[in-house]
Symmetry: C2
Subunit: 615 residues, 2 copies
């Protein structure tokens, strides 16, 4: 940062924003239009040159762009809280993702706020953000808390990207959210296929080109030097028109051109040809990065993405576990592991991903999105390395490579029998902390304490505490939203001989106990009705599922529910559709009724948290 930045005269309005992870209140500045450009140029543009690590200039380096928090989060039931998004963004930074698409700021206030926090906390190196906020302070405000920000010492700093349709409001909001990152990016898009232009946009080709050109220029005019443009439904767009519009947006300042197969209709050779044609025919393409974004409707997204890379794309958009609208997106772990295994055949391509963080990222996204992966999911499914499990293995496999193309450790999968520590009921807090660290969780303070007491109570009943048991407890204690209602007690009587009756005790945020009882068609129905009597928020249960986390009849049960609130706020999808937000919650216990109530209370807390924030 140059000294000039702090002395430039400008006027600004301030807002404060609270980070649930670092418990820090930030004061943010919205600069008046006339001075904004001058300031942002000084504040951000001067940093851009430093964002070209050596490997990036290597033509064989492939950037990984993760859109789990945008395309993934907008799947039905996958709504995440700001804290959850921050956790995932941090994990993505650990994983070494080059660009994090953190959200679609114009879709809702909550989304804007989440992207902003990710930009501040994950989009900056440790300490540097404090300086930046202070720089603001000098000009706009005196006093207030400035905490530790940034994403930790020595951790890679990803580009933070916000999505925007081709209009000023969307782009303003995206910039408002991402500009606090060290490397901010605006990603804007407009449809270019006949069918979309005619039926959705009701615009002519000329109007679409003009809109794209002017909006890319507008994004640049705000001071954002990293602008990505996507011609939506490129897979079904007329080839010549694509070259034209892409050429125009390059002239207007776009730095990355993303080619989406929006409806997942291409097959690999076809998509590869599309990328090759764009590379060969678009004026100015040599100065920008070509990117892919492949939907999975025919199950071909990973292969299409790889063909894109083979044909010249150097940024690949994907999501953890392949989640996303409909059949989802190319899955990061499949794309990255194929490039790792077959990079040579792909022309020497490589990525900057630290694959050992894949399993933890996968589990975290499963937890927070509520979208479970199937047992036979490639790389991260429960059966993917099942022949390794020892149960189903005799001495016939003399060499591990006979049926294994990568080792579980490559993706960060360690098994109980491989890690040294075994926990029992006499294990102390330190052993628990070490074990959790081994499993990829860096947990301390009150959270460690809470898990420790839960662990103790389980250890009283079970002889062996497995890694999976611990993961379930972490999920129940740590991966939880802000608490409005806390689980107290539950007691039920049920069965085929009579009506189920449940009594529930919840504790509110002031520590006051509330008790209610209800009858229902089953124990969960009865207990949930009792919770409703206490919470008094109109809620509809959309999904309910449960699984035992380990084998054995005394296993911990993990429950997941998805609810929506009647008349709740909506959010806007990239497709232009408005959707009602839904909230998921998880709970774990050795008793399925308790675990069900914990999950339900968790989902209600998540809903109340988001509701409160958007008011």
């Amino acid at each position: 940062m140059t000294a000039a930045a702090t002395t430039t005269p400008f006027s600004a309005t301030t807002t404060t924003i609270f980070s649930p992870t670092t418990k820090t209140k930030y004061t943010l500045f919205t600069f008046k239009p006339t001075t904004r450009k001058q300031l942002t140029t000084t504040l951000y543009a001067s940093r851009r040159p430093s964002y070209v690590p050596n490997h990036i200039s290597d033509p064989n380096y492939v950037r990984i762009f993760d859109t789990t928090l945008r395309d993934g989060e907008q799947s039905p039931g996958a709504t995440m809280t700001t804290k959850e998004k921050l956790d995932i963004a941090r994990q993505l930074a650990k994983l070494g993702v080059d660009i994090i698409e953190a959200g679609f700021p114009a879709s809702s206030e909550a989304d804007l706020e989440a992207v902003k926090l990710i930009a501040i906390e994950v989009g900056n190196p440790s300490g540097e953000m404090g300086q930046k906020v202070l720089a603001g302070k000098v000009a706009g405000e005196v006093g207030g808390e400035v905490g530790l920000a940034g994403n930790g010492e020595g951790v890679h700093v990803p580009v933070i990207c916000g999505l925007a349709r081709c209009n000023k409001n969307d782009i303003d909001k995206a910039w408002e959210a991402v500009k606090y990152a060290k490397y901010p990016r605006i990603h804007t898009f407009i449809a270019t296929s006949e069918i979309h232009m005619q039926y959705k946009l009701k615009m002519s080709k000329e109007q679409v080109v003009e809109k794209a050109r002017s909006m890319v220029a507008y994004a640049r005019s705000l001071g954002c030097n990293d602008v990505e443009f996507s011609p939506e439904d490129a897979g079904r767009s007329e080839r010549e028109f694509l070259y034209e519009i892409l050429g125009e947006v390059i002239k207007a300042g776009a730095t990355t051109l993303n080619i989406p197969d929006t409806v997942g209709y291409n097959w690999p050779r076809e998509f590869g040809q599309l990328i090759a044609d764009i590379k060969a025919n678009t004026p100015g393409i040599e100065n920008v990065i070509i990117s892919t974004h492949c939907q999975n409707d025919l199950g071909l997204s990973t292969a299409n993405t790889l063909e894109g890379a083979y044909s010249g794309a150097r940024q690949l958009e994907c999501t953890i576990n392949g989640i996303g609208e409909r059949a989802g997106n190319a899955s990061l772990e499949e794309v990255v592991m194929t490039i790792k295994c077959k990079g040579e055949l792909l022309g020497g391509l490589y990525t900057g991903i630290n694959t050992r963080h894949i399993v933890m990222a996968s589990k975290m996204v499963e937890e927070y999105s509520g979208l479970m992966v199937q047992p036979h999911k490639a790389i991260v499914g429960a059966n993917a390395f099942a022949h390794e499990s020892g149960i189903h293995q005799d001495g016939m496999l003399k060499n591990r490579n006979t049926y294994e193309i990568m080792s579980p450790e490559d993706i960060g999968l360690f098994r109980s029998n491989e890690s040294g520590l075994t926990l029992g009921k006499l294990s102390g807090r330190h052993a628990l902390k070490s074990k959790l660290f081994e499993l990829g969780y860096d947990i301390d303070g009150k959270e460690l304490n809470d898990i420790f007491w839960r662990f103790k109570s389980v250890a009283e009943m079970k002889k062996v505490i497995t890694d999976d048991d611990l993961v379930a407890l972490v999920s129940d204690e740590v991966f939880q939203p802000q608490i409005f209602w806390k689980f107290g007690d539950v007691q039920v009587t049920c069965g085929s001989l009579g009506l189920s009756t449940a009594t529930v005790k919840l504790i509110d945020s002031d520590g006051k106990e509330h008790i209610a009882c209800s009858v229902g068609t089953g124990p969960v129905d009865a207990a949930y009705k009792a919770v409703d009597l206490i919470v008094k928020a109109p809620v509809k249960l959309l999904e309910y599922s449960m699984s035992a986390v380990t084998a054995g009849i005394d296993a911990i049960a993990s429950t997941r529910v998805v609810i929506d609130a009647e008349n709740d706020q909506t959010t806007t999808l990239a497709t232009g559709q408005k959707v009602v937000r839904t909230y998921s919650g998880t709970g774990a216990s050795m008793d399925i009724v308790i675990s069900s109530v914990r999950a339900y209370v968790g989902a209600i807390n998540k809903m109340l948290g988001l509701k409160k924030k958007s008011n």
Copy 2:
């Protein structure tokens, strides 16, 4: 059949076999080696020419080979009973699958029996089997029941295939199982990659070629005119060696050459090149069919399979829902729908699949295998057509094709609001039967009656009975194994304040009631312990999961459990590994404890059924 067949002199030993679906006892004949060849040639070979429907001679016709019942069924926890396999085989015939790999007869007695029944009942046109069994009867036995067999009027008759390693015992067993089909096939395989030959087989190249050549010849010598050969781990085999061994087995009589990417290590261009090279360099290849078999370890199985077809393969091996060992196989629905959507780009390729039966096949395989598909699974996942659901849709989508490349009806997906009938508590048996038929279930007699009463009891408690509710009830009543123990009653008391206690009543096959009670760490633990006290079979609970089948707190809960029996019989995988069989069970109820007990009793019944058969 020629008259000669019934008059040929031979001696034979007979065995009887009972079909749980048609309730028919068949008498089967094992002919003595010296006369077997002569007979089978007359009985089966004479039929072969009729198995070349016109489209098959079209070079653009792609055969679909389904291995759900072999590769899929050998996944952890996916064990199916004979009745379940028959149901699936019938559905595959409806779907128009060209070849059904019905099992691996040498792996266990139960598998051999299942393949045999599928050969008889699904591998023959309606009525004809009666004739065949009668033909046998003339020579070997007088009297006994001969029922209606074959797979129904006007239904396509698939080839029935059995897997065998390259040894006489495996091939004998495969032939013993498939020879009753109108179009029987033996599929034999041996590994050809350096790593497999060296570490698994401990054989030289010359030995491997000799083994393959002689065993294909042996299969032909039994009278099997349709022999498929697979060089296992072809994806990692030396190219020149592949041409050599494939050329040799063609000379020995192989009619289909299947090229497996056993460890899922190829990427599409690489696998396509492998197929193209084999096509260009293998002597005699023009007289046989090339086939693909792609594992999904990198998430590329569908794309690899399509590239195989593009490069000349005319048989594609796949499974419903893509299930299979580790990350599974190419998924039939993805391969077929891509060929349907993009056949023209693939050079005019097409299949004989009736895609409208895909959804039912997918649901049936999910039910029976216990391998759930993820919500974002392409084609058949719950979210695959989610933007169509009406809940998440506003008026913005003026044209359905903007975000949809195929219609849900194409794969047999109909929604409540689309189908005419709505059921309520006053609906009669006939309305229920019509509705179930609409959903793809052709149910009658006692099964219809049982579902009707379950339907009535649910209708008493729920205002609207959705399609999903009905599917859950069908799954609970119809998709159930033979009954040894029947659910009677359960009553539990549980909660966070004290130990859970359950009382369970089961009814044995003689109608006698058994009651037991137990305490446990939760209601399910307590109830399962009470069941164990009654059943007295050593069982270990491996997996437990539950989900609500519809939104709303009064939804039906569907539970699935997987158990194994201590010291139970094992089966042999194609990899040579021995695995312990595991059994899944499902149950549905509005009370999660009842649904849990039903599922557990179902799994125990499945286990007892298979145990009994193998004794």
